[in-house]
């Protein structure tokens, strides 16, 4: 006896995140960007374990060497291995990018959700956002670096002090776009029926935000996260490049670029690697964000 009326669905039901992943896979640029970004992150954090040279090891006899088997990227004016310095610099740059992004993202999401959810706070918070958007970011960052560099360095040590300073400075000057996007989405969500339903069964404001609003604004937040990383890495490199970032002997990609520019006439090839590091990371993260935006948009998904 055979059962011809098979009511089982042919494919098992899958979650929303499966759909997102499916759409994301189809975006070639985003996949490539994601893979390149992962390679850079792993290379930069795991590479130093395999590479014999230390980023700060000075070997004055082998200074200013071109690329060779022992030093694939060459050595700098003090004989330090440039591959090791690139990896150490990448660690700092990516760490700054991620941390500053997280800070800006949490600030922006907080302001956006609060402004969208509580009508009374909407006006003041959005005026504040507008004011922050009118601030000249790069000059202000430079001023902040100048002012707080010394006190923070003496309080928690030069490297950690500058790290905190850069992360905080980038974080509090780049949360505004996220706040605006999140607020717009929250305002739209508030009119939906499920929010009304949740409200009618007596959901408190806190639960309302954490259970119903936050999961639904996750996609714009994730997209701004990728843009935030790119923005933070570029800003940190710009500050280091202008000589107002990390201390001179502490490698970051921007700092290495700055060092290389000083020897531009004699060793022009040194400019290439740190610049490529910055550009490739930012490019891959931007493509990642592009794909994520498409994958998380339910209107595009499934097509």
């Amino acid at each position: 006896m055979t059962d011809t009326t098979n009511t089982e669905p042919t494919t098992p039901p899958h979650s929303q995140w499966y759909d997102v992943w499916h759409q994301f896979k189809a975006h070639k640029g985003a996949m490539l960007g994601g893979i390149v970004f992962l390679i850079i992150v792993f290379g930069v954090f795991l590479g130093p374990l395999l590479w014999p040279y230390d980023a700060t090891y000075i070997d004055i006899r082998s200074r200013n060497q071109g690329p060779s088997l022992a030093h694939p990227f060459g050595t700098d004016q003090l004989g330090r291995d440039l591959l090791a310095r690139m990896m150490a610099g990448g660690q700092t740059s990516i760490a700054v990018g991620l941390t500053a992004m997280l800070l800006a993202l949490s600030l922006g999401s907080f302001v956006g959700i609060v402004a969208g959810f509580f009508k009374k706070l909407d006006g003041p918070l959005m005026r504040l956002t507008d004011l922050f958007l009118a601030l000249p970011i790069l000059p202000l960052l430079l001023v902040m670096m100048m002012l707080f560099r010394e006190p923070l360095s003496s309080a928690v040590g030069p490297e950690r002090g500058i790290f905190i300073l850069i992360v905080v400075a980038i974080g509090i000057t780049s949360w505004m776009p996220t706040a605006r996007i999140v607020r717009g989405d929250v305002l739209a969500l508030k009119e939906r029926e499920f929010v009304l339903a949740a409200r009618s069964i007596g959901t408190s404001n806190k639960n309302m935000i954490t259970r119903h609003i936050l999961p639904n604004v996750l996609s714009p937040i994730m997209v701004s996260a990728t843009l935030g990383i790119a923005n933070a890495i570029i800003t940190e490199s710009a500050l280091s490049f202008l000589g107002l970032g990390f201390p001179p002997d502490f490698p970051t990609w921007g700092r290495l670029l700055n060092d290389a520019v000083q020897y531009l006439q004699d060793y022009p090839e040194r400019v290439f690697w740190p610049g490529l590091g910055i550009s490739l990371t930012v490019l891959s993260v931007n493509y990642l964000g592009d794909g994520l935006r498409d994958a998380l948009d339910p209107r595009i998904r499934g097509r």
């Binding site: 002012l147 710009a238 202008l242 006439q265 610049g275 910055i278 930012v282």
Partner: protein, 335 residues
Amino acid sequence: MLTFTIRRLILAIPTLLFISLVIFLLLELAPGDPMAQVPLTVPPEVKEKMRLALGLGEPGYIRFYKWLVQFFWVEPQILFDHMFGTTFAEGKLRIISWQHRGPVMDVVVERLPQTLWVVGLSYIVGIMIALPIGIYSAYKQYSMFDQAGTFITMIGYSIPPFFTGPLVIVLFSVNLGWFPFIYDTTHEVVDWDSFVYQLRQMIMPVMVLALQTTAQISRYMRASMLDNLNQDYVRTARAKGLSEKVVVLVHVLRNSMIPVVTVIALGLPAIFGGAIITEQVFSVNGIGAQLIGAIQANDLPTVQTLTFMFAFLIVFFNLIADVLYGVLDPRIRYD
């Protein structure tokens, strides 16, 4: 529209005041002491007098008020006197730089032309390149040209000017030797040869800055064209037998330019910010370089004035963008 413009103008005043206060308070926290370089042999009471002479003795709010008066009242008077030969500002105290003990504005006026030339020209070049690219890639959406345009735009976004700068220097100055390595700010244009030299030294900074502008504006142009190309009025225009050229370049383009014009206005202050880095790369002696120099020398009045000028530019161009949007697009009515 007029009421809206006036309301925006009035709203800009507290914004500017707030920004100047933020900048002032930030600098107020500065641990740097302008007396740090004075020799230790100078007795403390003399040092105190020197501080007073720099205007540091008074409480913060009085100094903030004085700075406001100097910036918004005295300096415009100086400008007015300079233009019409009047003597309104005679004997009034100006914003004095701690670095070279002269009025800050004199240095700004000296250096502004360098920045304006490089920044302004690169912005115009960038727009001139961006608009055709945006129009064509929207018209041929998903074609090879469009894909290539998207890729180049991504690169323009991702490669910062402090990398493209050294890159073009290596390529065009070190390897090919076409253009001079360093921007010579003392160069004067007197005849054809010096004009050519000026042109040659400007090409690289303009190129670097224009790449960013092009990337941004061509994207907006493309998106805006795509929005309009599928509209009903385009079909109507084609149906009544207008040539494709007229449909795209007159009907669609004019409507698509509305948001793009505002984006162009909004992007101008950001370009000034970007010029800080480009000036550093090419050693252009503009106001960006002045700001960096003042920051390194702990010259607070200059830093405050310059930072505020950047803020003023942003607020001003935001205002222009808002008003332009309303004027160009009759559907947008703020009041």
